[in-house]
Amino acid sequence: MTSFQIVVELMRYRPKRFALSAALWSLMHGSPVVFGYLIGKIFDSLSGEATVAANPWVPVAIFASVALGRNAILWLGEVVWIDHWLEQSLQLRRNMLRWLLEAPGSRVVELSTGRAISTFRDDVDDVMEYLESYVDGGGFIIFGLGSLGVMASIDPGLTLVLLVPLFLTLVLTQTLVPEIRKRRREMRAATEAVTGFVGELFGGVQAVKLAGASEPVLGRFRELNEHRRHRALRDTFLTEALRSINVNMASVAVAITLIAVSARVGSPDFTIGDLTVFLTYLPRLAGNMAWIGNIFAQHRRAGVAFERMETVTVDAPPSAILDRTMVHLSDRSPAVVKPQISDRFERLEIRDLGYVHPDGKSGLAAVDLDVERGEFIVITGKIGSGKSLVLRGMLGLIPTVGEIKWNGRRVEDPASFFIPPRTAYTPQVPRLFSDTLANNISFGRPMTGRELTRAARLAVLEDDVDRLERGYETMVGARGVKLSGGQMQRSAAARMFATGAELLVFDDLSSALDVETEARLWGGIFSKGSDVTALVVSHRRPALRRADRIYVMADGSVSASGTLDELLAESALMAELWTAGDADRSR
C-alpha cells in the first residue's frame, strides 16, 4: 500500500472531524498571508507613498484583529485535533493488537517485544504525523501561493528569482531530514547502551566487585560514554547545519531583494511598503518550503513505518490494520462471554505434523501422536529436539503442515479451535500481567470464588495465596515480578485449570517446582474421579513414571514411543535421558 492510499484510508475514520481539523488549521496557517500585505500598506502610508487615502490605522486595526483572532482558531484547532489524533492512534494500535491476539490462523510471532513496542509507539506516531501534514498542508499552500501572488503583483521578475533559494530550502530539507533522523536514532541507541550498562553494572555490582573487575568495567563505561558523545555531536552538527541552511536561504533571499531593488526603491515603481512586503514574507516562506521538504521525507517515512506495522502483525492485511470500527472509549471493560462447546473430547490424532523454521531449518518432520480421553501423555527428549514445537504446532501457535483430528474430525484452523473449554495451555515460561492474581487466573472471564479456589488448589497455589498480603486481590506486579518463579508457574497452571478444559497441555511445568510440590501437583490432577487428559513435555522422573505413554523426540521426529518400561528396554536414548536427566536419584 502506498503512503497516499494509507492516508486516504485514515481520512475515512470520522471524516467530518478530520475535515473540521483541516479547515481550522488551513485558516491558522493561511491567514498570515494578510500580514505582509497589511504591513506594506502601513509602511506605504507612513512613508507618504500611498496613492490612495493614507490612513495607517485601518491596516493596523485589521492586523490586530487577525493576529488576535488567530489565537482563538489555534485553540479550537488544537482541541479538535488532539481528540482526533489520540483516537485514531488508538484505532491503529487496537487493530494491531487485536490481530495478534484474536485473528484466526497460525503465525510465527517472532518479535523481540522491544522492537514490537517501538513499532506500536513510534511507527504509529510516524504514520499519524504524516496524516497531520495533510491537516496542516492546506494552510501552508494558501500562504505560499497567496504571498507569492502578492509579491509577483509587485515585481514578477524578482519573485521568480527568489524562488531559487526558496526551492533550495525545500530540496535540502527533504534530503537532510532522513539523515538527521538516522543520527538521532543512533544517538538514542548510544544513550540506551549507556543507561543499560549502568543498570547491568549496578544490578550486578556484587559480581563486579567480587571479580575485582571494576577497572575494565569502568573502561567499558568510558568507551560507551565516548561513543555517545560522538553520536550526540553528529546529531547536533547536522541539525544545526540544516537550521543554518534554512535561515540562510531566507537571508539570501532578503539580500537579493535589497540588491535588486537598490536602484529604484523608494520610487513608485518599488515603494518602501513593497519592500516591507518582501521582508515580511520571505522568512516565513522559507520556513514554509522547509516544511514542504519535510513532508516529502515524512511521506517516505510513513511508508516504511507502515511496512514495519505489517511486519509486526505478521500476516495482517492492510485492511485489518486500518479497520475503521469506532474506538470504544469507556472506563469499564465490556463483558466477555464464555464460549460453549457441546461435543465431549474422546480422541486427538496428530498425523505427519511438520514445521520449518522461518530461517529454513527443519523444526518438525512427520510427527504422529495420539491422545485418548483420560490418558497422561509425556513428550520427552533433549534440548532442541522439538518437544515444545509439537505442543505449539498442535495448538496452532505456529503454522504447520499435516493433519490434526479431534474426535475423528479434521481441524482446519487449530489456532481458533484449540482453546478452552477444549484445551488449555501453560508454556515453558508463562507470562503474567500486572493485574490482580484473581484476574491473572480468570483471564477476565467471570468466575465464582469456588472455581477460583479449586483452580488454585489443583495448582498447589493455595498456601501461597494465604501468605500473600491481599490474597487473590494481590497485584502481581509487572509481568508477575512480585511472585517467585515457582509461584508464577503455578499461577499459570491455575489459569489453565480455571478454564475447566478437557485436555490440558503443558510445557515443562515442573522445572521450577521442588519434588514435594511436583508430587502434590500430579496427585491433585489425577486424584480419584478426576476426568483429566494431559499432554505434557517433561524430563522429570515423577512425570515419566506416571505416563500412560511416552514419546521420545530426537531431531524433530518421534524416535520411539511406548510405556516407560518398554522404552527403557528398547530405546538407548530413553535410557540415557533417564540416567543423565535426574538429579533426584539420591532422594
Binding site: P56, A64, E78, V79, L86, E87, L97, L100, L101, T113, A193, V194, T195, G196, F197, G199, E200, L201, G204, Q206, V208, K209, L210, A211, A213, R222, N225, R229, A232, S244, V247, S251, A255, L258, S262, I272, L329, S330, S333, V336, K382, I383, L395, L397, I419, Y425, T426, P427, P430, R431, G444, G485, M496, T499, A512, H539, A580, A583, S586, R587
Partner: protein
C-alpha cells in the same frame, strides 16, 4: 535545602578552558551580528527615503548578507561547541560517579535499586551536562541578545526602549510562570503512555498464553479501560500544553501589534524615522526566540541544581570497609573465623561464628534458608564488614588487605549470574582486553569446557537478560569466569534450580576440576554435591550447629547431618 555546589561541578570544565573561551567569543560576536542585521534594514529604508545619505544601497545589501550568514554560522558553531564541552566534561563526571559508587560497600547497594543509580549516574549528570551546554549557549546567549536588543532600542529612542523593555519583561514573566504547567503536562503524558505501552508489551510477551487459553477477547476487552484512561489523561495533558502555546502566541502577537501602534504613533509625531519603525517591528520579533529560551532554561536550571545536589550527596558517601595493603600468599588459602558477629538492619545474622578450614580442603555448608550460610561467604568476600571478630585468609586478617588483592585471590560463583549485553568474550573477562582468545580457550579447555565454548563462540552477543543463554549456560559462564581468574579460594553458591541433563553433567565435571588445588567453600542445596566434600558444616540461626569431617558425621547416627541425610530433606 543547601545551595548546590556549582563550583565543584564547574571544576570539570577546567580541562576544556580553551574551548570554553572560544565558545564565549563565538557567542558574543554572533550576537553582535544578530543585532546588526536589522540595523542595516533600518538604514536601507531610511536611505531609500532620503532621510539619511549612504554611499550605495547595494553595498548595504551585501553587508546584510554577510552579517546574516555570519550570525547563523556562529550560532551553529556555538551550539556545537557547547554540546561538545558539555558531553566531554560530564563524561568525566559520569565515570567518576560510577567508580565512586562501585567502591561503596554492599549495604549501600542493597538499599538502592539499579534504577535509582541510573538516575544518579546518568539522569542527574545529563541534567548537569544540559546545564553546561545549554546554560552557556542558550541562557547566556539569549540573555546577552535580550540585553543587546534593549540597549540598542534605548539608544535609538527612549520610547522604543521603554516599549520593548516592558514587552520583554511581561512576556518573560508570563512564560516562566506558565512553563511549570507545561512541564507537569509532559510528566503526566510520560506516565500515561508508559501505562498503555506496558499493557501492550505484557500482552505481546504473553501472546501464546493468551491465544492458547482463549484470552484474546478478554484482553481486548481490558484494552478498553486502559486506552480510555490513556485518551482522557493524555488529552488533559496535551490541552494544557496547547493552552501554553495559545498564551505565548497571544503574547508574542500582542507584541507585534504594540510595536506597530507605537511605530505609527512615533513616525506620525516625527519622533522616529520610518526605518526605525521597521526596526522596532523586527526587534520585537527577534526577541521571541530568546524569551522562549530563557523561560525554558529557567526550568532546566532548577533541574540541574537538583542534580548537582544529589551528585554531591553521593560523592560524600564513604565505604564502611576497612582496608590495608598486606599481600595474600599464592595458592590455596586457609580460612579462619574468630568469634565473628554480624547484624543486618539491626537483626543479628551471625552470632559468634568460629571455625577453621585448612588450605586445599573443601567445606560444604548446609542449613535452612536464612540461617546465615550466604552471609558467611559474603563476609569472606568482603561485601560487608563484620560488627566484631576477625576473619583471616592464609593467616592474614582481611581487614588489612586491599579489595583489589582480595578479589584476585577469592573467586565466587553465585546463583544469579550477572550478564552484560556484550560478547561472550567480554562477559567472560569483564571487558579486560588484555586476555587473548587463545588464553581464554586454553584455560576453558583444561576446565573441560572446551567443547562448550567452541559451540557457543566467543563473538556471540548475548543480551543482558541472558538473551540467547539458558540458565545452565549462564551457570557455565560463571564457572568459566572463575577458571579464568584462577583464585586460591573459591566460594560457590550451588544452583538450586534444575538444569537440563546435558548442562548438568558438564557443570558437575567443571565443579570437580574447580575443586582441585583450591580451598573451596560451597553452599550446598543437593546431597549429591556433598559426596565429594571433605568437611561439612551445619548452620542454623546464625550459629554453627555442627562442623566436622564428612565421613565422621555420616558415620555418626546422632549427628544433625546424618539426620538430614536420612530425612532426605530438601537442603535449601
Amino acid at each position: 535545602m543547601t545551595a548546590p555546589d556549582y563550583r565543584s561541578t564547574l571544576e570539570y570544565l577546567r580541562p576544556f578552558r580553551a574551548r570554553v573561551t572560544l565558545l564565549a567569543a563565538v557567542l558574543v560576536i554572533g550576537i553582535g551580528f544578530e543585532l546588526g542585521a536589522p540595523l542595516i534594514l533600518q538604514r536601507f529604508i531610511d536611505a531609500a527615503l532620503g532621510t539619511i545619505v549612504v554611499e550605495s544601497l547595494a553595498t548595504l545589501g551585501i553587508l546584510y548578507l554577510a552579517l546574516a550568514i555570519g550570525k547563523q554560522l556562529l550560532s551553529a558553531l556555538a551550539t556545537y561547541l557547547g554540546a561538545d564541552v558539555g558531553w566531554r566534561s560530564t563524561n568525566e563526571l559520569r565515570a567518576d560517579m560510577a567508580e565512586h559508587l562501585i567502591g561503596l560497600d554492599m549495604s549501600y547497594h542493597t538499599s538502592t535499586t539499579p534504577g535509582e543509580l541510573i538516575e544518579r549516574v546518568d539522569g542527574d549528570v545529563t541534567a548537569v551536562s544540559q546545564f553546561i551546554a545549554r546554560f552557556m549557549v542558550k541562557l547566556l546567549g539569549s540573555g546577552l541578545l535580550l540585553v543587546g536588543v534593549l540597549g540598542v532600542s534605548w539608544f535609538t529612542d527612549w520610547r522604543m526602549g521603554l516599549g520593548i523593555s516592558g514587552y520583554v519583561a511581561m512576556v518573560l514573566l508570563l512564560l516562566v510562570r506558565m512553563r511549570s504547567m507545561a512541564v507537569a503536562a509532559a510528566e503526566e503524558e510520560r506516565e500515561t503512555s508508559a501505562q498503555l505501552y506496558g499493557f501492550i508489551e505484557e500482552r505481546l510477551a504473553g501472546i501464546e498464553d493468551i491465544r492458547a487459553n482463549g484470552g484474546g477477547t478478554a484482553s481486548m476487552a481490558s484494552f478498553v479501560p486502559v486506552s480510555t484512561d490513556f485518551f482522557e489523561r493524555t488529552r488533559v495533558a496535551w490541552r494544557r500544553r496547547a493552552q501554553f502555546w495559545v498564551a505565548s502566541n497571544t503574547a508574542f502577537w500582542s507584541g507585534d501589534i504594540v510595536a506597530l501602534v507605537l511605530g505609527v504613533v512615533l513616525v506620525l509625531a516625527d519622533a522616529i524615522t520610518v526605518g526605525t519603525a521597521f526596526l522596532l517591528l523586527q526587534y520585537t520579533q527577534l526577541v521571541r526566540v530568546p524569551i522562549e529560551q530563557v523561560s525554558q532554561e529557567f526550568q532546566e536550571l532548577q533541574k540541574a541544581a537538583g542534580g548537582i545536589l544529589r551528585i554531591d550527596a553521593v560523592r560524600r558517601l564513604r565505604s564502611a570497609m576497612r582496608t590495608g595493603d598486606s599481600p595474600l600468599p599464592p595458592g590455596a588459602l586457609s580460612v579462619r573465623f574468630d568469634r565473628v558477629h554480624f547484624s543486618y538492619d539491626d537483626k543479628p545474622v551471625l552470632s559468634g561464628v568460629t571455625f577453621e578450614l585448612a588450605a586445599g580442603r573443601t567445606l560444604g555448608i548446609v542449613g535452612r534458608t536464612g540461617g546465615g550460610k550466604t552471609t558467611i561467604t559474603r563476609l569472606i568476600s568482603r561485601l560487608y564488614q563484620p560488627d566484631s571478630g576477625s576473619i583471616q585468609l592464609g593467616g592474614t586478617s582481611i581487614d588489612t588487605v586491599s579489595e583489589q588483592v582480595l578479589r584476585h585471590h577469592v573467586g565466587i560463583v553465585t546463583q544469579d549470574v550477572q550478564l552484560f549485553a556484550a560478547s561472550v568474550r567480554d562477559n567472560l573477562t569483564y571487558f579486560d582486553h588484555s586476555r587473548t582468545d587463545d588464553e581464554i580457550v586454553e584455560t576453558l579447555r583444561t576446565a573441560g569446557l572446551g567443547s562448550w565454548i567452541d559451540d557457543l563462540g566467543l563473538d556471540t552477543e548475548i543480551g543482558s537478560d541472558g538473551g540467547g543463554l539458558s540458565a545452565g549456560e549462564s551457570q557455565l559462564l560463571a564457572f568459566a569466569r572463575v577458571f579464568l581468574q584462577s583464585p586460591g579460594l573459591v566460594l560457590l553458591d550451588e544452583p538450586s534450580s534444575r538444569l537440563d541433563p546435558v548442562t548438568e553433567s558438564l557443570l558437575a565435571a567443571a565443579t570437580e576440576r574447580l575443586f582441585a588445588q583450591r580451598t573451596v567453600v560451597i553452599i550446598a542445596h543437593r546431597l549429591d554435591t556433598l559426596r565429594t566434600v571433605d568437611e561439612i558444616m551445619v548452620v542454623s540461626d546464625g550459629a554453627i550447629v555442627e562442623h566436622g569431617e564428612r565421613n565422621d558425621l555420616v558415620a555418626d547416627p546422632g549427628s544433625a547431618f546424618s539426620a538430614m541425610v536420612a530425612a532426605g530433606e530438601a537442603l535449601a
